[in-house]
């Protein structure tokens, strides 16, 4: 008996238990409401189905949440400018490729130039955030608030307030699929970013540095780590991730819509990190947890859409989920649970005594 109990405790206390449980719950709910949820069909050599759709649509969120995880881990704050940075990257890429027109059917500049400049712009946004947080010691959320406000304005300035269309088949590839490969390309992009990040964190000491700075930045500095440089790096990386996500989102709709690309994505990314079992006050982190969290959120979104909830109303349910999760994580809830546990245990022992 105690062996089984110990094993259950081991499983439930594992860091990825809660994120996986959440994902399982959402998927189970879907089996009950939508019977053909797990049905996957093949049309024209492409896989189709709810699950494929979730994996595909979650790609941008996965990339964002990877960047967000590192930001949260190192600085104990969040980068709320990611959605706006996405729209900046998309706007700049489309602006370069269209050469200032609002709808083109041919590239006016090389494709690579557009991508590189867009990524550079997002990198620059990340540098700006990093500078404010790491060097000037401004609260992360407030520092990123500046770009959160200005980002969409800058994007609109670039596109002159209009939607810029790139009607070139090649531009859609990043957001759709290459013929012959059954899975959409964004899925691979997300996996690629995740693998590279994980490799760098595992093979170098960077992962440990980030954790140590997140747990105590002053102590880490005294030990000899460049705390502010590490925090700066995470913000730059988060900006870059947002840029990549923005390019994918833009490729999906072969245009730059400054108002809608990446809208509300910052909440989803923060939610993914929290759902992944990461503490929002920094320190230890699990990249895998965040990725599972991102897929869970997309599963939840798709589920709600399948239940005919409109896009406008979606935030209500997500907000409730966020509050529930962070309340469960809070010290207050932990204390409450502990009290409950000890009361139950003491009740048991009293019964035994009687």
């Amino acid at each position: 008996m105690p062996e089984i109990k110990g094993r259950i405790k081991k499983i439930t206390s594992h860091r990825l238990f809660l994120p996986l449980l959440c994902l399982a719950l959402v998927l189970l709910f879907n089996i009950a409401t939508t019977p053909d949820f797990f049905k996957i069909s093949i049309k024209n050599g492409m896989l189709y189905g709810y699950t494929i759709d979730i994996i595909n649509r979650a790609s941008e969120l996965v990339i964002l949440s990877i960047g967000m995880t590192l930001v949260v881990a190192a600085s104990g704050g969040t980068d709320i400018s990611v959605g706006a940075v996405m729209s900046v990257a998309a706007a700049i890429c489309c602006f370069i490729l269209s050469g200032g027109e609002h709808s083109v059917s041919q590239y006016q500049n090389p494709f690579a130039l557009g991508i590189i400049l867009a990524l550079l712009a997002s990198l620059l946004c990340g540098c700006f955030n990093g500078l404010l947080v790491a060097k000037l010691k401004i609260q992360p959320m407030v520092a990123t608030l500046i770009l959160f406000t200005a980002g969409r304005g800058i994007a609109q300035l670039v596109t002159e307030g209009q939607i810029t269309y790139i009607r070139v088949p090649g531009y859609k590839i990043l957001g759709s699929a290459i013929p012959g490969i059954p899975l959409p390309l964004p899925v691979f992009a997300a996996v690629f970013v995740a693998l590279i990040t994980a490799l760098v964190l595992k093979k170098t000491a960077l992962g440990i540095y980030i954790q140590s700075v997140g747990i105590n930045s002053k102590a880490s500095r005294l030990v000899g780590l460049k705390s502010s440089a590490i925090i700066f790096f995470t913000y730059v990386f988060s900006g870059l991730c947002a840029g990549m996500a923005g390019l994918i989102a833009s490729s999906r709709i072969y245009s730059a819509d400054a108002n809608n690309i990446g809208l509300n994505m910052e909440l989803d990314a923060i939610l993914a990190v929290a759902l992944g079992g990461n503490s929002l006050s920094g320190g230890k982190f699990s990249l895998l947890g965040s990725i599972i969290g991102a897929y869970t959120i997309q599963a939840l979104t798709t589920t709600l859409y399948a239940m005919n909830v409109s896009a406008d109303q979606l935030p209500v349910y997500k907000a409730v989920v966020v509050v529930l999760i962070v309340s469960l994580q809070s010290p207050f809830a932990h204390k409450l649970l502990q009290k409950l546990k000890s009361r139950l245990l003491s009740g048991n022992s009293q019964r035994r005594a009687a």
């Binding site: 000037l136 500046i146 406000t149 200005a150 907000a319 809070s330």
Partner: protein
Amino acid sequence: MKLENFFKKVNGQSFMLSVTIGLFAVMYIIGMIVFASKGFSNLQVFLNLFISNAGLIVVASGMTVVMIAGGIDISVGSVVAMICMMLASFMEKGGISAPAAVLICLLTGLVFGLVQGFLVSYFGIQPFIVTLAGMFFARGMTAIISTEMISIKNELFLKWATAKIYLPFGGYVNKKGTMIYPYIYPSVVVALIALVLVFAMLKYTKFGRSLYAVGGNEQSAMLMGLDVRKVKLKAYVLNGFLCSLGGVLFALNSCSGFVEQAKGFEMDAIASAVIGGTLLTGGVGNVIGSLFGVLIKGTIETFITFQGTLSSWWTRITIAALLAFFIVLQSLFAKAKEKK
């Protein structure tokens, strides 16, 4: 390092406030010179700053209270949209009278503040996360009430919205030869009364002073015997109420409710408070500063309307640039203080 010495010597608080007031004065004088032919110097243009920003003045003073206590509330824009939509749908679809609808809305704001405050103070969740969730919740609720725009046609409500109160001075003679006096709407009066009350509350009541104590240093406030959690909770409740009052004033100005309303309003409120000298780290702040923050934002908007060819997103970019400037200034003061 001369600059550092300067930051050490100057009293940060009053310096920031004077920078803000000075900035406003300079901007306004520039406007008077540049747009002299378009009548920028008319008193009515100045009063219009108050008329179009009555809601923001109240919301920004609520934000100031929360920020002094060391918190932040980014849900205010969505709550304002929700209040406008509730008012519109109550009066136009529910057939509820105007005073009752306003009362229900104010109560909703109180409850909203209570829930957020409870989560922040008793559950110990970061205020940013709680109010981010609140922001999405309120915006989504607005869409649940109605995804289409509702115009307010209630007679009594429109009467409140358009009752002009003429000032007995500052008039000018128009082309037809009649004397025209500048006017304000009742919403401005309500906003200014709320502002004065919050100012007095912060300065002269026990609760007001404990807000500064909690925001300045939570640990010492607790050791002093203050119930930190209760103070924080009260700050959020007050903010919720002011936010809904601001929403009602906003509705008096716009006379409609729709999902996209008041987008980015939270940034305006936070930017106003920060530009007005409220510290993001808590413990320092003043609603008078926030009022000037709002007026600066209004002046930028007036510039853009008078200029005519600039697009509206320049407002957001300028506000963000100003916000960045003041935040950096604040951090320089904080650094200088640390070195002292």
